[in-house]
Subunit: 372 residues, 2 copies
DNA sequence: TGCACTTTGGCAACAGCGTTGCGAAAGTGG
DNA sequence: CCACTTTCGCAACGCTGTTGCCAAAGTGCA
């Protein structure tokens, strides 16, 4: 019921609940289970078990969802000695969202349905330094086409951009290397031109949201190493952004007191050490530095999983995954506690993870996955 | 409604809501506002505004709370041109909890009422190395007296202990320096001897919870420097513990690659660097190291506040607060963003913050502040 | 002093939520 | 063919917050 609460009062956790709030909370819950079940579907009784609601309540809720066109029947399961269960499914076409990754030199856009399936994809070259008009024009071109294709079921456009930025207002801050964007109201500018709701978030948060919705449970960190180094943090199933969308500033974590200077003005930042190692071809050292940062993060937050992504890692996944895992492994072993090593994996989604996650900025709220 | 959800299904965020859940959610919300209002009290209409509920709903809810003895009238406010508002207050004596700080060499216990006011306090010397029987005996002695004094309104006993431990089962892990406690079921042992519900958590988490309930809003970190160095993390008003109660492992964050060895087996940990600096009397350097760790944490989580506590800091607060603030300040200035510097303060509560927070492990759930 | 007005807050009727009681539908298995 | 199991909806119900309304208790002006 959190999502509703937030919407109503602005101050999280301080809002009362009423019947409509309860209703949409439960509907979102059921919808999320339907989505998670995927093509296999799920029966009403299973839904009842998983939600803790009575079967009768589930029947009423699914009936409403079917009326709204969000859910539908999809055959029946084999009998287990009685009347066979009717399998319910999400109707993927009932909603769509466009997701955009706006990077420093390229633009990726996808049209995604309720299921999370990519229905269409576009890619274009851009230059963030070419001025707002040119960049916005490119975005509107690419997105507009997909928006149209989404038709009536289009919920809006999500944008993942390099930070820092303010996701609540959709305003960019000083993007590293492109100070002219500082203060640019990207969300409102796009919403006006496209005529649909727009949500803007950091690229790393979008990627993390996509993975969380995509099935990664619990708490995890998604580390993106590309032109910069950022982290998307998922804590207990929801993306943690902090009050100023500042969370996930992973690249400028200091891991070497009085170390080599970083372009940020500090010394010994992970990003500086890591990029320097990559530049001289020493991927093992880059991975080790990344691993130390990941171990710090894992220890501080007690997360369940580390996912690696971004262009640099996509170019040579193996040494990074292995190197980071080695550091985490050594760390766990030293602790000697009961806990098993934090697993490290390559973030799925190929080069399109951020764009897909950005689409989830619009879709996730339907499933009760608050975007706050 | 989260607290209720968690209780019902065990799997957070996956539980349906029903009328009783809604009812207790709203009751907890109102109760929390009554508590926060303190001695000044709060009127029904103010409650309605703050919760988003209708005045009528608030009237019904407060009537129930009054029947249960949890709330009461406390005079009236001056009229603002109409009927003067009736001021409502929490009845502090309606509930009590005992909070215990079990440290390596001492024991502190407090009896706290619903308001958070300390009604009684005890202190005793213990030696964690003296064996379970002796330690448990001491705890039962001190706590038993306070439990009895709490009478019928006693909700239970909360214990803050040095980590690592498992707070969901109340089992200690390998307490640094005292390996014999590894696997000891402290919660169940105490619950059996005292005959009341017991909750066990890390000392730093208890301190953080106490501060969160005590009025610190938003997200903050509570860093405790004593015989060890730990952090309690409050994210969006709730203590973040992680799935294994492992979160807040702040002391072994590595801030100096290949730095001096730490007793944990790693190198360059904050704790090693910090304690070494303290040992040679260089508090400025200790504060700087702590500051770097705090800046890392603040950047990663985008927190609003850093609070410093623990014995070492209590002994000389000023250089630590100043030193940590200096590092955070420099860090913010470099970012050049709109955000203001993360403030650093001495954690209030004197030497008794952990014990008071431990009591809140029992009280906080009443106010809808989930302990998960 | 009296009357209009504002503000507080409870009573009563209401709509809507999930729950309970129960029975129909649709299978399996002896 | 019949007993049994399992699924699942209809109907009545209890309880939630909401709405409509009115009494109570002040202020302020004539």
């Amino acid at each position: 019921m959190d999502g509703v609460n937030r919407t109503r009062s602005g101050r999280p956790g301080v809002a009362g609940a009423n019947l409509p709030a309860m209703r949409s909370h439960n509907a979102a819950l059921v919808l999320d289970l339907l989505r998670t079940a995927g093509e296999g579907g799920i029966s009403r009784l299973e839904l009842a078990e998983r939600t803790g609601l009575t079967p009768q309540a589930v029947s009423k809720i699914t009936a409403r969802l079917r009326e709204e066109g969000l859910a539908g029947e999809a055959g029946r399961r084999a009998s287990t000695g009685g009347k066979p269960a009717t399998v319910l499914r999400l109707v993927p076409d009932a909603g769509h969202a466009v997701g955009i990754q706006l990077d420093r030199d390229e633009l990726r856009a996808v049209l995604v349905d309720l299921d999370g399936t990519v229905v269409a994809a576009r890619r274009a070259e851009v230059d963030l330094g070419a001025g707002a008009e040119a960049v916005l024009g490119a975005v509107v071109d690419v997105a507009g086409e997909l928006v149209e294709r989404g038709g009536d079921s289009l919920l809006g456009v999500g944008v993942g951009a390099p930070g820092p930025l303010d996701h609540t207002h959709g305003v960019l801050h000083r993007v590293t290397g492109f100070p002219e964007w500082d203060g640019f109201p990207l969300r409102d500018a796009l919403a006006e031109r496209l005529g649909v709701p727009v949500v803007v978030d950091k690229d790393s948060n979008a990627a993390a949201l996509g993975l969380a919705v995509g099935g990664e449970g619990g708490s995890f960190a998604c580390l993106l190493l590309g032109t910069g180094l950022g982290a998307g943090l998922v804590i207990g199933g929801t993306v943690h952004r902090g009050a100023r969308t500042g969370a996930g500033e992973f690249g400028h974590q200091v891991v070497q007191l009085d170390g080599p200077p970083c372009h940020c003005g500090d010394r010994g930042c992970i990003e500086a050490l890591c990029l320097a190692a990559v530049a001289r071809g020493d991927l093992a050292e880059a991975a080790r530095v990344l691993g130390v940062g990941a171990a710090n993060l894992a220890g501080l937050l007690d997360i369940d999983l580390v996912l690696l992504g971004g262009r640099t890692i996509a170019a040579a996944p193996e040494p990074f995954v292995r190197g980071v895992a080695a550091v985490l492994d050594a760390h766990t072993r030293r602790e000697g506690s009961l806990r098993t090593t934090v697993p490290v994996r390559l973030a799925p989604g190929g080069g399109q993870g951020v764009a897909e996650g950005a689409a989830q900025l619009l879709l996730a709220p339907l499933f009760g996955r608050a975007d706050g």
